[in-house]
Symmetry: C2
Subunit: 190 residues, 2 copies
DNA sequence: GGCGAGGTAGACAGGTCTGTCTATCTGTCC
DNA sequence: GGACAGATAGACAGACCTGTCTACCTCGCC
């Protein structure tokens, strides 16, 4: 457990501050002060604030995607169960202190379409959607694409509403709705 | 068709600029230039930028709530149909040029919880939810609260994703999912 | 004619933001 | 010991942002 490298400290501070307050609301000076790093060091690792923002989004992507996959896996081997289990990640997130919705949606709200930040967000959402479509296909859905999109809507809705009120009820309803949509999208099973 | 008052011109410019670029990204100087108004006039009508932001949100609330109600009404007198019809407003919004998702969600992403802007967003979402809960109760749902929340998730999900890619497919899937959830939440009908 | 409401034009103060640059210190490897 | 990589501290430039203030203009109304 050595002291984290300067780069890691910067990224950690940025992670917390950007998420809690928004990207534009946090200046590099604050990140520098919070991470206890010199300004020159900051700009050596991240030549512009935008690059730090992208690194922040990549970090969020790693964490959140990991949580989604873990939730899906721990729901069991059946792909249909996995699709529903995804929503446990939403419930866990909702209950976390300082929860403020989806970092990507929040970032995209501050970035103009076409900018790298905005596009990184689109890429993330498309990756999640593609993964869910795969699961839907494995589950034998009649229309894996529509099912995956429906579930993505529920998930993004839960994340967006979470930015307003961190109400675990939202996650409960989302999971139940997901269960209903999944089972109605599968061919009749015994 | 007289020239709109100075206040209206300011609010119109703010409406377009805030929505298209985000609130923090737009300075009062730009709004002043765009609306062709003097700085003193601006500050006479809106003593601080924050008050303009709130007026902007109120304007959005009036427009968007009106569109939701209109979509619900034009789906017919049956409350269950109205609940599904709401999603036509999402489809129309998606297809509009310059569509960038829900102004409230975007605004909340930039405002810290507890600020007036954030709370105005929460109030708006709660009003929409309460209205949908009413419709769900009129439709005779077993659990109007859960049904309304499910539909709100789909709606907010559609709005949040709309900020990323204005894909009408999203609205189509949302409406279909809404139909499925509504019919599965009602007691068996012939 | 005179008054007042509301608008225009734009300088200005004080703060914050990003990004650059200089000068110094510390530890490691040879 | 000496060279070097990487960090520190902090001044600085230049842009931008909010909000204030002065000075003038214009139109309707009494």
């Amino acid at each position: 457990m050595a002291i984290p490298s300067a780069r890691d400290r910067i990224l950690d501070s940025a992670f917390q501050l950007f998420y809690a307050r928004g990207i534009r609301a946090v200046g590099v000076d604050l990140i520098i002060a919070e991470s206890g790093v010199a300004k020159a060091t900051f700009y050596k690792h991240f030549p512009a604030k935008d690059e730090l923002v992208l690194a922040y989004l990549d970090k969020v992507d790693g964490i959140w995607t990991g949580q989604l996959h873990a939730a899906a896996e721990s729901a069991g081997p059946d792909p249909a169960d996995a699709l529903v289990g995804i929503f446990d990640a939403l419930g866990t997130a909702c209950r976390r202190d300082g929860y403020r919705g989806c970092a990507f949606i929040n970032a995209a709200a501050e970035a103009a379409p076409g900018t790298p930040v905005h596009e990184r967000t689109v890429a993330h959402k498309q990756a999640v959607l593609a993964w869910m479509r795969d699961l839907a296909a494995q589950a034998g859905a009649d229309d894996p694409n529509s099912l995956a999109r429906s579930l993505a809507l529920l998930l993004d809705g839960g994340l967006a509403e979470g930015a307003l009120t961190a109400d675990p009820e939202v996650a409960r309803v989302a999971k139940e709705s997901a269960r209903a949509l999944v089972s109605s999208a599968l061919p009749r099973t015994a």
